[in-house]
């Protein structure tokens, strides 16, 4: 049986494009909503802390610790996002691996 490499390649390109689009679309949407949620929550926290400082419920040192802690928290959020990006790439590669093997074997009719 002659192997039609051009046909295999064309089918794979189409499938890979679809897979990449789906993966990236989901990732971008998640990253965007995550970022907005963190900013909104930080804004609300800052307002609350300023009010509590003004009311004398907290010392200046405690207030400063909370503001600096938010910066540290942001760093941890960024690390989570960076890690999730790496995981998304790993998942994409694993899906690509499955896609290539199943597509080729199906086109070549070999098990």
């Amino acid at each position: 049986m002659p192997i039609d490499f051009q046909n295999i390649f064309n089918v794979l390109v189409g499938e890979v494009e679809k897979l990449a689009q789906d993966t990236l679309k989901n990732y971008v949407n998640d990253a965007k909503s995550d970022g907005v949620a963190f900013l909104n929550s930080t804004k609300a926290d800052l307002q609350k802390w300023v009010n509590e400082l003004a009311a004398g419920d907290m010392t200046a040192e405690e207030f400063k610790s909370l503001v600096n802690g938010q910066k540290d928290l942001l760093e941890m959020v960024a690390l989570r996002k960076a890690g999730e990006t790496a995981i998304t790439i790993d998942k994409f590669e694993n899906s690509l691996l499955n896609l290539v093997t199943t597509t080729i074997f199906s086109l070549l009719k070999i098990a």
């Binding site: 790496a86 998942k91 590669e93």
Partner: protein, 146 residues
């Protein structure tokens, strides 16, 4: 016969090529690491509730939680491809920063801290622990890799 041989060689070539791109960049999901991160979060927050009282009277409890954090940090350090999680634990426990490590350092320095501050800090540190457990939960399970 020739075609069969060609198919066989093609299969070998294909598996070899794909195996090269199939190396993950991140560690796999680890149930122990996930359980520890969520469990220590609760321990740390319970400890923080004690910070309205004198630090010296709670040194034993502080040491217990610190030891748990030290143990999971050492565990995480020895997992391959785990840089993001290791860095997260480093920030959380760093006494010069303002999360768990910084809170304990402040409590030790001042003797006690205010209740309003504790409530706010518990929430902030809780979110920091969540970053670790959320990242762990997103990691690929070894059983998912075909």
């Amino acid at each position: 016969m020739k075609t069969k041989k060609l198919n066989y060689l093609f299969k070998i070539f294909l598996f070899s090529a794909l195996a090269l791109i199939a190396c993950n960049t991140m560690s796999y999901f680890d149930q122990y690491a996930y359980t520890q991160s969520t469990s220590i979060k609760v321990d740390a927050q319970n400890l923080m509730d004690m910070a309205t009282e004198d630090y010296k009277s709670h040194e034993k409890e502080v040491k217990e939680v610190n030891t748990k954090i030290q143990k999971i940090y050492e565990y995480e350090k020895n997992r391959p491809k785990n840089e993001f999680t290791i860095k997260q634990w480093e920030i959380l426990r760093d006494t010069t920063k303002d999360l768990y490590g910084g809170f304990i350092a402040m409590w030790r320095k001042n003797g006690k801290v205010g209740k309003t501050f504790i409530e706010n800090k518990k929430e902030q540190i809780g979110k920091a622990f969540d970053q670790i457990s959320q990242l762990e939960s997103k990691k690929i399970k070894q059983s998912e890799v075909k």
